[in-house]
Amino acid sequence: MLKYTCKRILGMIPTLLIVVTFVFFFVRMIPGDPARLVAGEQATLEDVENVRVSLGLDKPIPVQYAKYVTGLMKGDLGMSLRTKRPVTKEISTRYVNTMKLTFISLFWSAVVGVALGVWSGIHRGKWQDYLGMAMAVSGISMPSFWVGFLLIMAFSVKLGWLPTTGASSWKAFILPAITLGVHIAAVVARFTRSSIIETMQEDYVRTARAKGLTERVVIWKHAFRNSLLSVVTVVGLQFGFLLGGAVVVEAVFAFPGLGSLLIESVNYRDYPAIQSLILIFSLQFVVINLLVDMLYAYLNPEIKLQ
């Protein structure tokens, strides 16, 4: 297991290097002069040049790249052009908010998705199955910003129970978390259903039934446990989708997280912030995928034995 872990972590390094390089050059391709943007509309040519020097943008690209990578090693992401504060400072509080939001969404959607999937799967071909899957395919097809607005209309505007914006109290997390999780819950439900249907046809399930176990034990102890393996993988892989989806959902609820920061930064052409945010999103994603793989290896005795 340790060997496998080391191998996977080492295997991640080239991907990360490519991602870092890719993000660096990619952001340099954004049209517009950041120095002029920082200096302001009224600035003279001289002012713009001063800003350019102070930001280090006058140096050749390879020098900028080297500085950027060494900065990254030290945990320095540069200064935000918009707020003139270190990007790490800008990001830290918002990072916590986005992580809270994604984990809450992941948790509820995994529970609901698995439950719905099992329910549909064990009633294959009956009305429960059709109802469950109709809900799931609808969940996949709804634009998240629309779901968000419908929830706001119902729970904030009409009923006045929950706040529409911010992240100040736990109540403010409820609507964004529901919105963000709908799609994942639907994906998990569909996947769990097919996985359950597959395992229900296995010999060991027939054996379990033949030896007179109750249907509940057969389903949860034999069928579900064995399909859990692939379900875990799918739930983990949805994490990346959650990170992406958070951008849209945060925009709907004016939620102070990484996603809304990304949109603001793109609108302002705040290079250091855009570059750091895209990097953080992809790092998150790569690390989570690694953890999912590890978990899979841990749960799957076939890989452990190798």
Binding site: I18, S141, L150, M153
Partner: protein, 310 residues
């Protein structure tokens, strides 16, 4: 008549001078090609047939809707601002008194065009990359797969936002962004099919007869990957319509006054309190369009997936 009997009948037919002429219409119906088989299985799934009909209807609306709508898409009417649905304005009006129904109908064209063209570009690029990668292997394979890994290291919409940030906002750039992020999926899919088909006897036979690499790739291997590509294509259309409308919603895609559905919805956010219909109807339009592509895709998958043959 059972299936077996039918087969026996066909084999027992005496050989005639012109075998083509001997096949009557009735017998034609019995001959099972992979295509007819897929159509037969697809027809069994009522939901998917309905979804397909709805998609065809949407295409029709996209083509002729523009000429049939009761109001112009940018026809202002300051006497009818923010009106709810009525006989005159089926879906109500927006803050400039523009008829929402006309705008949504005209928006069909945009959403379908963006979704379909983005996925088509992505599918073509991905298929070519996947074919080359799987067939030649070695360094080409490594490079292409590294690029795919890198693209996969970004959550889809983040990559799209990054691309739009570089290219600037606008519908064409949204198409490019969505095409880029759907490419690696097709590349991986086609690559794995190519790897499997490369060793097939018919490919080896074609090779030994001296067929060129291009001929083998496009005439022998590609047709074998087509069913998977079609299924992935249909599934991707729904996703890319959603992504494109999300980008427009975030202000990075279509710009006002384009009647793009995501943009219409984003416009409605200021009037949630008094005029919910401005957000409701564009959302329903996106929902039903994506839903029909997803259900159609599910049906296609069940009809084309060789693993599910009965």
């Amino acid at each position: 008549m059972t299936e077996e009997k039918k087969k026996q009948d066909q084999t027992q037919k005496p050989l005639e001078a012109n075998p083509q002429a001997a096949i009557t219409d009735a017998e034609k119906a019995d001959i099972r090609t992979p295509l007819s088989e897929a159509i037969r299985k697809f027809k069994k799934q009522k939901n998917s047939v309905i979804a397909l009909c709805f998609i065809l209807f949407l295409v029709l609306v996209a083509v002729v809707g523009y000429y049939l709508v009761p109001f112009g898409i940018n026809q202002y009417d300051y006497n009818a601002i923010l009106q709810g649905p009525s006989g005159k304005h089926l879906f109500g009006t927006d803050e400039f008194g523009r008829d929402l129904f006309s705008r949504i109908v005209c928006g069909t064209r945009i959403s379908l065009a963006v979704g379909l063209s983005a996925v088509t570009v992505g599918a073509i690029c991905g298929t070519i990359l996947g074919l080359l990668s799987g067939y030649y292997g070695g360094i080409i394979d490594s490079i292409i797969m590294r690029i795919c890994d890198t693209l996969f290291a970004f959550p889809g919409i983040i990559l799209a936002i990054a691309i739009v940030a570089v290219l600037g906002s606008g519908l064409y750039n949204v198409v490019i962004a969505v095409a880029v992020f759907s490419t690696p999926t097709f590349a991986r899919l086609v690559r794995s099919r190519t790897l499997a088909l490369k060793e097939a006897v018919f490919v080896q036979a074609a090779k030994s007869m001296g067929a060129s690499d291009m001929r083998i790739l496009f005439k022998h291997i590609l047709p074998g990957a087509i069913p998977e590509i079609i299924v992935q294509y249909t599934m991707s259309v729904g996703t890319s319509i959603l992504t494109a409308s999300s980008l427009s919603f975030l202000g990075m895609g279509a710009q006002p006054p384009t009647p793009e559905w995501g943009l219409l919805l984003s416009n409605g956010r200021n009037y949630l309190l008094e005029s919910a219909h401005i957000t409701l109807f564009p959302g329903l339009a996106i929902f039903f369009t994506v839903l029909s592509f997803n259900i159609f895709g599910d049906g296609l998958r069940d009809a084309l997936d060789p693993k599910l043959t009965d």
